[in-house]
Amino acid sequence: MNTPLRRVSVGFMLLFFALLANITYVQAFQADELNARQDNRRVVLDEYSRERGPIIVADTPVARSVSTEDEFEYLRQYPEGPLYAHATGYYSFLFGRAAIERAENDVLAGTDDRLFVRRLVDLVTGREPRGGSVKLTLDPAAQRAAYDGLGDRKGAVVALDTTTGAILAMASTPTYDPSPLASHSLDEQQAAWDSLTTDPNRPMLNRAIAQTLPPGSVFKIVTSAAALESGYTPETVVPGPAEYDLPQSTRTLPNQSGQPCGPGGETTLTNALRISCNTAFAYIGNDLGGDALREQAERFGYNSQPLPEMNAATSVFPEELDEPQTALAAIGQFDVRATPLEIAMTSAAVANRGVLMRPYLVEEILGPDLAVIDQTQPSELSQAVSAETARDLTAMMVDVVENGTGGNAAIPGIPVAGKTGTAQSASDRPPYAWFTSFAPADDPRVAVAVVIEEAGENTDISGGRLAAPVARAVMEAVLGS
């Protein structure tokens, strides 16, 4: 019986070697991959045991870790929770991380390669390793103005520094308080999560960057830009009848007023933008063609994702449009979808002599000792329009505010360029009121986009009436500071 006995014992020896080889694979080779998984709670616990770096807005922490007595050791706090919730995101044991807490986790947790030397120093000096800080581009006054302006209405605001692309305000309502999600009571975390995720108004949705809506008439800036780039001038006369007969279709596209846009059903490009003339822009759209519109839209940032680190949504201008679709797309309807961020980028590009800057939210990465480790350098995304077109477009948009639908955005003593919009996504839901603007028009510093969902009436007046005052308040906050 010894031969099979030896074979069996050798067989078991091989099985035991397999066990050893397998744990070597799991613990030595697969370990990094397993430890990097977000649902691995050990890694979170390990993070909790270190002092997580703060998220800073204008020298004030809007997310910080304070020492506690319980097993987590540090509690994440958001002193002005709802005001910055969509920027900071949350840091939750049960539900992971979001927004900057997720995007800059390596820095905040202190595991980023850029903090390597400091970790070594901590190791040598025996100090508890700490995370780095993330300084945001947000302007507290603008951020507060945005939230005050939105009030309890559903909507969003984005404000950009026109010359750098820095995001000065990013507001989305309804907002939420991230603090309960970071609570050390798991019941409290769960309760907060349940109530936030079941709220039909979706407070955790960042409407400023993560939700696309039909832009409606604010898209006429893009159509105007395409027209000016292809030979139109602000004084070019275009047809502007009361109704535009959609080609290949029996349907017509009316002006909201039901009136022609000028005497004899004709109007200039400037006047068409001023009174937001649907029929004129539908005509221009078909005159230029869908491809020209799309190319122009893409130079303004459509069809590519901005702020990927924040999971921003990609604004869309569709391909292969037929003529009726092109006419509708030219006035920001059909399948055109844009985020408030994209609308603000469009205005910012016009303001910045046609140069579109890459939007960014993180200003600086700081070490635990607050020494600057990394700084975001503004960079150009594209030349959206020529400087000449930008100048003409600026003048036309100033005209909108001074003589047209955007009067509510006017700031005494400062020239403001803007455009109203109202858009409908479905016939059974209330329209969206849009407004976008930049100021000062002669030396632009800030561009703003505002959207308010569920505006009462479906006219551009609502964009001017509801959204323009919010935009003005945000611009004033930036210019006043």
Partner: protein, 462 residues
Amino acid sequence: MSETSDPPTPRRGRGIELALLLFAVAISVAAYVSVDIGALGRVPPDALGYFGGLAALAGVAHVAVRLRAPYADPTLLPLVVTLNGLGLAMIHRIDLARAGEGGLAGAGLEAAAAPSQLTWMVVGVGLFVAVLVLVRDYRVLARFTYTAGFLGLVLLLLPLVPGLGREINGAQIWIRVGPLSFQPGEAAKIVLIVAFAGYLVRTRDALALAGRRVLGVDLPRARDLGPILVVWVTALAILVFQRDLGPSLLLFGIFVLMIYIATERVSWLVLGALLAVLGGLAANALFAHVQVRVDGWLDPFSDTDRFFQIVQSLYGLAYGGLLGTGLGQGRPDLVPFAQSDFIVAAFGEELGLTGLMAIIVAYGLLAARGFRTALVQRDPFGKLLAAGLAISLALQVFIVVGGVTRLIPLTGLTTPFLSQGGSSLVMNWVLVALLVRISDATRRPTPPAPPTDEAVTQVVKL
């Protein structure tokens, strides 16, 4: 194995055993102390008492071996004490984590498991001594072959008796008598190994007769297939009615390997493998609780909620890395059943790859000493019995460690000596007592049994 015509008189090795035992107790107490230092930042106040208690237990076992099995293999007892001591330390460690405030793992406050495990260790050592005292000669066990077989089957079926059996965590493998819960399957395992050994010694000649030859393999005669089919059906019944994959696999594996050793016919291995695959495939197709295990083995990260256990186990192992977090400094309580089925993951986390390797090697040594006892033993019954016990130990360790580390699909089995659980601990002490008893007989200078025909030609160096 080199052969000599004149085997030297074997050393008893009791001094070596005592030295190794001191080492084993030292390791166990060091683990216990470092758990408290790591988790609570202080030396446990009862460290000395703990040391005294463990030393006393080991001492009692050692004295019993000295008096009743003086020629026994000196490494068996120290290995077992080491494993048992490490298990106690880890169970205590997870007690501490569970008692900690916050209750992050979602585990409520449970009664501390370590004290009761220590009590079971006392019972285990008691039975170890009892086996050595009562079973003066293991060969008497051969007389009870059929009694043992019957008893084994009854023990296996007991949990299915209404009113007596209890379902815990989805497996119907417990019986409850008054306040005590017991897994009769652990006892059944040993009793059945005794029965298998006795039965195979009697029938191995018939079982070795070749039937038809298919594809170069001599298949057994159809009429000899009875026993293997009975065990196969029993194993399947455990799987179906008690919803427990591990014991089923273990029982069948032990029997097939023992029949192979007894008959020296590879055909039994082939047949056994075929039946196991057949049963396994059917089980996977028919039973959700088996499917979960197989799916979770193939791709645990496709659904981390459904495959929560194995995923948490892998996270624990990964977090431990090469050197571990140190005892008391990881979060082994995040793994479900960390004190019982998944204790290996807890060791992997806090002692790292290094510590887990040491534990697996310790099991390997234990099994190797068992196989060596079987190899050297001349009496066929003793040979088969020792082989069966060693196989049971090695196979169980492979199944449970392989399952927890995702080498093979996860199955519910305890890790011998480490896992929390009185039935398992006590019965493994009995198992080792039997091994000690056989190894004592094996190494005695004058074999009490007349050599068998086979053994005469096989003189073995010790």
